[in-house]
């Protein structure tokens, strides 16, 4: 008897007027991506240059991989109706855990990976439990956990530490044919996440909890567990991002995550891909598109040799423009 009626039939006229088809935003972001590529190509063709050379494409993929993986994790928590602001600190932490455990030795790569996964899963567990068990708003909960991780980092590290062996750096720099290994890793994570959301019970329940937690609860879904699971997955993704960055840097660094702005940027990529910030609607495909869009944008700027600060401005504008278009497509009261 509480709350508002949850469902209202969408009047037919609105359905007819909708500028975006069902599942629109995910498709819209790819449309925008294609448009951007064409524009870039034309622009550079006019300047007598080539856009999207092989080098370019590889660069885009490599730059996107870490953000892409983190954003996949962020997609999970956002779909579940939560949010994770701690990923940036966690990336720093796991890059250090990886590099210090490996300490340049080939033999320690596997234990290091295990340690990173364990650490990140633990942080995710804490995030999830604070959100569900203590009922702290995800914004505050993950901000708080992020601060705790930040404090530990500050207390222990002044700068880069540890080192990864040359064998592990293959992850960051090698490629198979035109495809960088890091991009393949990203693709694998994305595919796994897609499969999880589409084909598994957990995935269905993540949508349910994010869509309406009360409905899910009344249908027998243990909503707390679902949210915790989403947080663990998100943190593990951040951990994988940390591994990737450690491999790229050759060491761990206490500010690599925050410098990259992975917290807010991953959220930006997710919503750019059409996933609703409130949860329950969207998916991995859109997020991948969102990340690629940001990366191609970057690439255009790089080639135009525009100041890096201008990129932030354009990103901000693109973000608002995209969300404004989605808001027009969906009539949200």
């Amino acid at each position: 008897m509480t709350g508002q009626p949850r469902l209202r039939p969408a009047p037919a006229r609105l359905a007819a007027l909708r500028p975006l088809p069902a599942g629109g935003p995910a498709r819209a972001v790819y449309l925008a991506l294609a448009l951007l590529v064409v524009l870039g190509w034309v622009l550079f063709a006019l300047r007598g240059e080539q856009f999207l050379t092989m080098e370019n494409i590889v660069g885009i993929q490599q730059r996107s991989a870490a953000l892409g993986i983190v954003a996949i994790g962020q997609t999970m928590v956002i779909l579940a109706g939560s949010l994770d602001l701690s990923v940036a600190y966690l990336i720093s932490l796991t890059s250090l855990v990886a590099a210090e455990t490996m300490a340049g030795g080939d033999g320690m790569v596997v234990p290091a990976i295990a340690a990173v996964l364990a650490v990140s899963a633990t942080v995710g567990l804490v995030n999830g439990l604070v959100v569900t068990g203590l009922r702290v708003h995800a914004f505050i909960a993950t901000l708080g956990v992020g601060l705790i991780v930040a404090g530990l980092l500050d207390a222990r590290y002044d700068g880069p530490a540890g080192s990864v062996p040359a064998s592990f750096q293959h992850l960051g720099y090698d490629r198979i044919g035109p495809l960088p290994v890091s991009a393949l890793l990203w693709a694998a994570v994305a595919a796994a996440a897609w499969f999880l959301l589409r084909r598994t019970r957990l995935g269905h329940r993540i949508y349910a909890v994010g869509g309406d937690a009360e409905v899910a609860r009344l249908s027998g879904v243990r909503t707390g567990r679902v949210v915790v699971a989403a947080h663990v997955i998100c943190s593990v993704c951040a951990g994988i991002g940390g591994l990737l960055l450690a491999s790229r840097l050759g060491a761990g660094a206490p500010t690599v995550g925050t410098d990259g702005g992975y917290d807010l940027e991953s959220i930006a990529a997710v919503v750019l891909g059409g996933t609703a910030l409130a949860g329950g609607r969207g998916g991995v495909a859109g997020t991948v598109g969102g990340v690629l869009l940001l990366a191609v944008l970057d690439s255009v700027f790089n080639q135009l040799e525009i100041d890096s600060f201008a990129k932030d401005v354009v990103r901000g504008v693109v973000l608002v423009a995209a969300l404004a278009i989605y808001a027009r497509g969906r009539r949200t009261p």
Binding site: M1, T2, G3, Q4, P5, R6, L7, R8, P9, A10, P11, R13, A15, A22, R199, T200, R201, L202, G203, H204, R205, Y207, A208, G211, D212, E214, V215, A216, R217, L218, S219, G220, V221, G280, R281
Partner: protein
Amino acid sequence: MLKMTGIGKSFQGVRVLSGVDLEAAAGEVHAVVGENGAGKSTLMKILAGVHSPDEGTIEIDGRPVTFGHPIEAQRSGVAIIHQEFNLLPERTVAQNVFLGREPGRWGLVDRAAMESATAELLHSLGEETFGPGDLVRRLSVAQQQVVEIAKALSLNARIVVMDEPTAALAEHEVGLLYALVRRLTARGITVLYISHRLREVFELADRITVLKDGSRVATEAAAGLDTAALVRLMVGRELDAHFPARAGGPPGEVVLSVRGGGNARLRDIDLEVRAGEIVGLAGLQGSGRTELAKALFGAEPFTTGEMRPRRPRSAREGIAAGIGLVTEDRKAEGLLLGQRVRDNALLVARATGGGRPAVEKLLERVRLSPPRPELEVRTLSGGNQQKVVLAKWMTVAPRVLLFDEPTRGVDVGAKAAIHDLMRELARDGTGILMISSELPELIGMSDRVIVLRDGRIAGELPAGATEEAVMHLAAAS
């Protein structure tokens, strides 16, 4: 089949149910009626495992059961269909039906199995208008109700609780619901039917249990009761005059008029409301009744036509033109649930800079009980909440007040109080336009009835028109 004995429940020291017994047989439609606050919903929520009882036992098929969680009740074959559907609009029908119990193994979902099972369920309910892959958001309210019922069946429910199932249905969909209920009972399923609409209760129920103030007053065969006797049981008195008498005098000047009003949902609207009259607005759900009220008010404005005193383009302009709207859905559109009665009552006055009205007097005038302005509105009963909405509008004394389903979900006592207030307002010169799906109320209250069909005015009937005449105009093709 089902036997609840001596059920008692208190919330924060307030006794809501005491010693309630309820028995229902397989294949029976058992109606549970009572005023708001009588404890119907709490009793049903106990049966569905939403609340656990403080005392008493529940037996199903002779075995005692206790439910700590809705899922346990579901496993014992109890399904509840709430007034507000428990569906996810962004998911498909099949995903909703099997939410929390997706078929498959090793944590994977067998989509094909899920969809075919859903298709089968829909087929068995005679539903052909949508399929398992459709998004729930695209379905009508009646179709969504079918999804809820399919969900109950997929749980192998043997007891289905329906809480005010027709509240959101259009007239012609109610018949489909009756048919659906009969399909369920034909399978031996017990249906517990909660409704304020006594006509439905007599149409469907085999037996009727009456609750009053948290206790059971009676359980009787429906055949042995009539409306008057039932109302007497519910309120403990005979409501001889259902509706307060009309003022009788000639109506005053025209306070609101439209010529050729139209927008995306409405066409060629001509109507007038005079000071001191109550104009009823009838029509099937989807005929544009709410849209007309919102257009007159300005919230979803007319795009064409002439209107006096002026054509508002927003709610603010409507209020400035002396129009008020008591919305259909008071929780979503009428009230600030987290704020005090006082802040709600003053909302319109503050929003429009309309002075500092005396709240206490107003609350007395709308018969808020208890008349305490410091209470949070979310803690009030539906009837009291509606009175707060009325107080909110009375602070600015609009010349025209539009009522959209003013007594929906309101108990019998508060209903009478709201009817009295509407008459009082009319007597004081307010022009009133009233929408109601309950034809006896509409006809009983209105000086004339305008019937809407497909966004146009289908005709007008004088006071005292029969329900049949109204229905004929509303439904004729």
